[in-house]
């Protein structure tokens, strides 16, 4: 039964993720006053890369990198419940907790970073460096918000946090939400925090050495991972979800906001983004935490 659940979750995440990605490209195109590709274009891209005749592998660590990243994404997905009510589609969330999920969020990226290092491509490592440098600043406001939520709801279990919201956390603790959103934009790889894979500057960064099926796997994991992150945010701040419609609506709304945000802003340099994240969102988060837990 649980296997069925997991499989279903994976399927939903895969489809929704690619759908969202298609929509993302489409909507971004509209922002830029162009038509944009069809909604399933990302899916087509990934299948195309899967079907490449050959792909270059720089040894076993390189080979395993995308696999680890994929496993990390799937793990993240499995440890986040789809719905906070009912019995089904909880995944493995009862065996884990929010701290675990916070770490799983970076597990895949780190695994992949090893592969990038093993490839020997300096541009890839440059991208990884940027990513890691940005990572801690990115996480800090998010951590603070999450800690505040855990403390307020009295549990580090995602289901409990989602269920404990009488009104949405986003409205109950707007400052925390705003701070977490900044981080979330960065986690989604959106401008202004998208310096990691900047194609013109660092040759598409960590991905620069991945070809063929490796790239395809990365694309698929990105889709799944995006969905997982959205679900996490929905559970933490948007009152959770008890059905597919609610989940999709909330997550898509969030997604729409993120891409709109990304489409509107230019790109920060690495030190700029760290500086910004350490100053503005972190301050907001700290104020939010104090307001939320002051009693």
């Amino acid at each position: 039964m649980i296997l069925f659940d997991l499989l279903f979750m994976l399927l939903v995440a895969y489809i929704t993720g690619f759908l969202y990605y298609g929509l993302y490209r489409n909507i971004t195109a509209r922002f830029q006053r162009r038509l944009g590709p069809p909604v399933w274009q990302s899916f087509l891209d990934s299948i195309k890369f899967f079907s490449k005749e050959e792909s270059i592998s720089h040894g076993w660590m390189f080979y395993l990198g995308p696999v680890i990243m994929m496993s990390g994404a799937i793990m993240t997905l499995f440890f986040i419940p789809l719905f906070h009510t009912g019995e089904s589609f909880k995944g493995l969330s009862s065996y884990g907790n929010l701290f675990l999920v916070l770490y799983l969020l970076v597990l895949g990226a780190l695994g992949n970073a090893l592969a990038v290092g093993a490839s020997g491509n300096p541009f890839g490592v440059m991208g990884v460096t940027r990513g890691l440098s940005r990572l801690f600043a990115l996480e800090l406001p998010f951590y603070i918000s999450v800690i505040a939520l855990i403390s307020v709801s009295g549990s580090a279990d995602i289901v409990c946090i989602a269920a404990s919201q009488t009104e949405w956390n986003a409205f109950a603790y707007p400052l925390l939400f705003i701070a977490a959103l900044f981080s979330f934009v960065g986690m989604m790889g959106q401008a202004p925090f998208d310096v990691v894979g900047a194609p013109v500057e660092v040759y598409s960064g960590p991905a620069s050495e991945f070809s063929g099926k490796f790239l395809a796997l990365l694309m698929s994991q990105s889709a799944i991972f995006t969905f997982a992150k959205l679900v996490l945010m929905v559970h933490l701040f948007l009152g959770g979800a008890s059905g597919f419609v609610e989940l999709l609506a909330k997550s898509f709304g969030l997604f729409l906001f993120v891409i709109a945000f990304g489409a509107m802003y230019g790109r920060f340099k690495t030190p700029q983004s760290i500086d910004f994240l350490l100053k503005v969102p972190t301050s907001i988060a700290i104020v939010g935490l104090i307001l939320a837990t002051w009693s």
């Binding site: 990884v128 040759y203 030190p271």
Partner: protein, 548 residues
């Protein structure tokens, strides 16, 4: 076992086997055995082993002592034997730095225990609390100050770590694992005794711990020498423990993390020792691309850094989880955020470490000819890595033992159901499921991935990389990431950490001391006339003073 010392009936000393002592003794045995395993690779003098034995004996004395006098004796003997052990490789300056801090630590411990003795006339741990309470407020603060200085120097808490980094960097590769795994743990043991028996200096520990973790992490990111990097990492890891000891129920997490840190630092330093043994290079900028030459070592370092970074599913996450929930329980939320922040920053140096050594391109010709390290290096790594994996899979395995210690210290026990799970009031974590799920998913994805039609082909040489259509060659600078983190200095807040160093403070202190000495020794000018005058002046002052 109680007895008196020096034929003085008023000093009662005692050796006692407690669960806490056993815990640390176990770590000592483990460290000693693993370290001795790699010893045959080095040609060491007999005096080295003699001193090492003395050191281990003093560690046991520290651990099993049940009063502060024996503890202090062990502490001093440890410091001195370490001094002579370090003297085999350390430069004069580093050695001097080490011993000055060690002496400062020992002497402030001495003052502290004497203050403790002054009220109840007992050195025993049981009486420590009463002795402390019997002091006046000012003396209490003085006592806490001296005690914490002693402990912080041993732990290398930030501000007191000036000696530690150089000592780690220059110490013998055989001795570094022991230094990091055991000697700093003795500081921890002292801190645990202090917190459990006397008083929990909450704010001091919290602030110092947090500063330590954050500053040391960013300092570690800057380093280019492997051992320096790991030294700062040690400091940061111990900072977590100091932080968690500041809260009421932090002891469990602290002990857990102490165990994990001992294992992982042994693993990492032995691994590094192996790499240095085969390559003779100690700088990240001189290494690189060793992954296919030393595949086993690579895997062990990988396991090590996963644990160090606190990533699930290995043991590192379990201990971090305990620390986090302890802080959460105490509602030290910003502290928790700070700790998690530094934990996230640790990813950078962890990656830098593994990249600089194993990934990327070899920076020297002779790196392409090295062979896998001898089995004597690998065998202890197998042991330690499997221990870490087992603890990661069954994180509840050590809880009963920790509970026994906590029970002995009259602290709240950790909840325990099965060996697979860690349960706290906030959440639970099932290591077995996480490990199983990760393993299962990984294998499934890998299998499906391998079944794909697309051929994975291997480039003929390592220069076949996407490099903006240019053709790199031997002379091209391709090993990039070893200087990772330098750009962080452009961020104002981090620049502040990178720019400042306790070095400046201690240099200033030393300079002032020298000036002072220069002034004072002018008294001994060799001019009798002057000195007779001084003497008579002294007499006159005395007369006036007594006639007042």
């Amino acid at each position: 076992m109680e007895f008196s010392l020096y034929g003085l009936s008023d000093i009662v000393l005692s050796l006692k086997v407690t669960a806490l002592a056993n815990f640390f003794a176990l770590l000592i045995v483990l460290s000693t055995l693993t370290v001795l395993f790699i010893a045959p690779n080095y040609r060491l003098k007999r005096s080295f082993y003699l001193l090492f034995t003395l050191l281990v004996a003093s560690l046991f004395l520290i651990v099993y002592a049940h009063d502060y006098l024996l503890f202090f004796i062990g502490w001093e003997v440890m410091s001195i034997s370490t001094y002579f052990l370090l003297s085999f490789t350390l430069s004069k300056e580093a050695l001097h730095k080490y011993i000055l801090f060690a002496m400062a630590s020992a002497l402030s411990l001495f003052v502290a225990i004497l203050l403790l003795y002054s009220t109840q006339h007992s050195f025993l741990y049981e009486d420590a609390k009463q002795s402390y309470l019997a002091m006046s407020d000012g003396v209490q603060q003085l006592f806490t100050l001296f005690m914490l200085i002693a402990i912080f120097i041993k732990l290398g808490t930030i501000g007191f770590h000036y000696w530690l980094v150089d000592a780690y960097e220059e110490s013998h590769n055989l001795f570094t694992p022991f230094l990091s795994a055991m000697l700093s743990k003795m500081g921890l043991y002292a801190l645990i005794l202090f917190v459990a028996n006397i008083t929990q200096a909450t704010y001091v520990l919290a602030v110092m711990g947090l500063l330590t973790t954050i500053i040391a992490t960013f300092k570690a990111i800057e380093q280019e020498s492997i051992k320096r990097l790991l030294a700062y990492s040690s400091i940061a890891q111990l900072g977590y423990i100091v932080t968690v000891l500041s809260v009421a129920d932090g002891m469990g997490g602290a002990l857990y993390h102490a165990l994990i840190h001992t294992l992982v630092k042994l693993l990492l330093f032995i691994n590094i020792a192996g790499v240095i043994y085969v390559t003779q290079k100690e700088k990240l900028s001189d290494l690189g691309g060793l992954i296919y030459k030393l595949p086993q070592s690579f895997v062990f370092l990988l396991i090590g850094i996963i644990v160090l970074a606190g990533m699930p599913p290995l043991g590192g996450f379990a201990s971090k989880f305990m620390i986090y929930t302890a802080l959460l329980d105490a509602k030290y939320l910003l502290l928790l955020a700070g700790v998690m922040f530094s934990s996230a920053s640790a990813f950078i140096y962890v990656y830098k470490l593994i990249y600089g050594i194993y990934l990327g391109h070899p920076t020297h010709k002779n790196l392409e000819e090295v062979k896998e390290v001898p089995w004597t290096f690998l065998a202890p790594q197998y042991l330690l890595a499997s221990l870490l994996v087992i603890i990661g899979t069954f994180p509840g395995l050590v809880i009963p033992y920790i509970n026994r210690i906590l029970g002995e210290l009259n602290l709240t026990l950790l909840s325990f159901e099965t060996i697979q799970t860690l349960i706290t009031s906030y959440a639970q974590y099932n290591g077995f499921v996480v490990m199983g799920a990760f393993g299962g998913i990984f294998v499934l994805v890998l299998m499906m991935f391998m079944l794909l039609r697309s051929k994975a082909k291997k480039p003929k040489n390592r220069f076949d990389i996407a490099y903006c259509a240019e053709e790199p060659n031997e002379a091209t600078h391709l090993h990039y990431g070893y200087s990772m983190g330098q750009e962080l200095k452009r961020v104002g807040l981090i620049h502040l950490i990178a720019k400042n160093s306790s070095k400046y403070f201690y240099d200033f202190l030393a300079k002032q001391m020298q000036y002072f000495s220069e002034v004072v020794r002018k008294i001994y000018s060799g001019n009798l006339l002057l000195n007779f005058n001084i003497a008579v002046l002294f007499l006159i002052i005395l007369l006036l003073w007594s006639l007042k």
